[in-house]
């Protein structure tokens, strides 16, 4: 079984995140780059399967700027067997279409059984890459899974939707995405960190993958404007003197919110 896990390097949500107001791109200097937590959960799912099933190969795949190598090593330290880092100037500000096309080209080079991703990233909040990959790779998708079972040739799980919960299954190869309901990623131990230094980390460019960044055949999404919202100002703050509940009720009634 070969499992490809997609991880995304994102600005840390525990800090202030900034967009460059001229380019509209993420200001990567402004915040610490971390692996998106949902990607660590995706990796944990692959690793726990690998722990129980000998002969499982876990490959980490990321599309990130040049400097992201240290962050990718963390995934190797957690236990992935190898990593592929797609990095190219042509990918700066890549939209969903170019991102999916590039990732699909990188996955196609591997004889994969299963691709695992997070359901949605904390920075872009697009949540479409898994379905796009499934379409491009011509395999089924089972997205937004809150529980997952991987067995020989089949992946299945629970898929909460607006009106209830579906039980879904797909024949492998397939693409799945998971929700936060899955266990969080393990901490790399010292042995893992040392071993990670020797694990293969392949860096690929767009030309290695035969991808043209500005393919005239494909429409792309472009950013027209970006503005920063003025920070929200604080309003009234009272200290309870035994009647704060009454005052709050008055406030809600006055504002027609009760």
């Amino acid at each position: 079984m070969k499992i490809v896990v997609l991880v995304k390097v994102v600005p840390d949500t525990y800090g202030d995140r900034k967009l460059n107001l001229e380019t509209g791109l993420a200001d990567r200097e402004a915040s610490e780059a971390v692996v998106d937590e949902i990607g660590e959960r995706a990796l944990e799912l692959a690793l726990s399967y690998a722990d129980a099933n000998e002969g499982t190969e876990v490959v980490l795949l990321t599309l990130a700027p040049e400097g992201a190598t240290a962050t990718i090593r963390k995934g190797l330290a957690m236990g992935a067997g190898s990593a592929i880092h797609v990095s190219d100037q042509g990918l700066r500000g890549a939209d969903l279409g170019l991102t999916a096309g590039t990732l699909a080209a990188a996955i196609r080079r591997l004889e994969f059984d299963l691709v695992i991703t997070g359901n949605i990233s904390t920075d872009g909040s697009g949540g479409m890459i898994p379905a796009m990959l499934a379409e491009l790779l011509d395999v089924p998708h089972a997205t937004g899974l809150s529980s997952v079972e991987i067995s020989d040739g089949v992946v299945s799980g629970s898929r909460p939707v607006e009106s209830g919960v579906q039980q879904v299954s797909a024949n492998l190869p397939a693409v799945i995405s998971i929700t936060e309901a899955l266990p969080s990623g393990r901490f790399p131990n010292f042995k893992g960190i040392m071993a990670a230094k020797k694990k293969p980390l392949e860096v690929l460019t767009l030309s290695d993958l035969g991808i043209i960044a500005d393919d005239p055949e494909a429409a792309s999404s472009i950013m027209l404007t970006v503005t920063e919202k003025p920070p929200r100002a604080a309003g009234v703050k009272i200290i309870d003197e035994g009647d704060a509940g009454e005052k709050l009720a008055d406030f809600l009634v006055e504002n027609r919110l009760a």
Binding site: G127, L136, V161, V226, A244, F251
Partner: protein
């Protein structure tokens, strides 16, 4: 067959389970009506097409294309095939889909197949000289961004609950759309457990009012106070990540960067300190009220009305005061 309007905006709405159109339908058609003529593609289980078409017309669809799935156990792919056929037929200026799980899958697969541009997680749409553009609220509402397609109709997914505009009802003009299946490999829906209406509370996503609780409640039993205030106000129940991690409420109630994003008329934060990740999921709400015993809690920096005090004194008093005013 009559031609479709030249400024058609194709809106995809699905019927799930035994209910009517998805909740997002009214907002999607409302957004479409503001930038063109809304044409609805309704995707339904077998036999539910005509009822859904009538509902779409009431919500403002000038024309309706009906596709009843032949096999509802196939996940996702039939919707993509239907959308592909609908775009061929309608030639719209833009395609609007809900930014729900199924909506994202549909938009992603369709865009990959047709090489169309995606504008994801929009909170509004507008039209300029060159076509339909999408408005986005980025990084938890810290930035406003507009995006568009370099050419062709953009596929725009619209954040649930973000559109307040509603379209006027139209006389129903519907037709069944023939779809050629792509036979692409798909996952199967083996079973479906519909969420029974155990709770009469509004759904968190898209709710007009939200009452959210944090770790300040101390236990699952005491967290029930959040529900009591929510019921008094007719609000949905939310929670901070800390409250979810502590097991007071299921994860589906989590508001924040990694949970549900809400943009409600009223957001009441009880015992929530207001960590940056939580604020990212609620700070675009119109009115924010906070109760916290810690006067330095960051939630007060963005609260329109803040109370420094004991939850277990303030909230019960608030509930009885609201109930007393209702009786007046």
């Amino acid at each position: 067959m009559t031609e479709f309007p030249r400024d058609a905006i194709l809106v995809v709405v699905e019927v799930q389970g035994s209910g009517g159109l998805e909740q997002a339908a009214a907002g999607l058609l409302g957004a479409a009506a503001a930038v063109g003529t809304p044409v609805a593609l309704v995707l339904t289980p077998p036999g539910a097409g005509s009822a859904a078409a009538a509902e779409a017309a009431v919500l403002g669809a000038a024309r309706v294309l009906i596709v009843e799935t032949t096999d509802p156990s196939v996940l996702g792919v039939p919707s993509v095939d239907a959308l592909f056929a609908a775009v061929e037929r309608v030639r719209p200026d833009a395609i609007l889909i809900s930014h729900s799980l199924d909506g994202r899958d549909l938009a992603g697969r369709y865009a990959a197949r047709s090489r169309a541009a995606v504008c994801a997680d929009a909170v509004g749409v507008a039209r300029d000289e060159e076509g339909v553009v999408a408005h986005h609220s980025v990084y938890g509402g810290a930035y406003n961004v507009t995006s568009a397609s370099t050419f062709g109709a953009p596929v725009i997914t619209v954040r649930q609950g973000s559109i307040e505009a509603r379209a006027t009802a139209q006389p129903e003009e519907s037709e069944t759309l023939a779809v050629t299946p792509s036979e692409k490999p798909a996952a199967r829906i083996d079973s479906f457990e519909e969420e029974v209406g155990a709770s009469s509370r509004p759904e968190l996503r898209g709710a007009a009012k939200v009452v959210a609780g944090g770790r300040g409640f101390g236990s699952q039993e005491q967290f029930a106070l959040v529900g009591q205030l929510a019921d008094t106000l007719g609000a949905a129940v939310g929670a901070s990540r800390a409250a979810v991690d502590a097991g007071y409420v299921p994860q589906s109630h989590q508001v924040g960067q990694t949970g549900v994003s809400v943009s409600s008329q009223l957001y009441v934060a009880l015992g929530i300190s207001g960590a940056i990740q939580h604020r990212a999921g609620m700070q675009t709400s119109k009115m924010i009220v906070a109760v916290n015993k810690d006067s330095d809690a960051p939630i007060f920096e963005i609260a329109d009305f803040g109370v420094v005090g004991d939850l277990f004194k303030v909230v019960p008093q608030l509930i009885s005061a609201l109930q007393a005013r209702k009786k007046q």
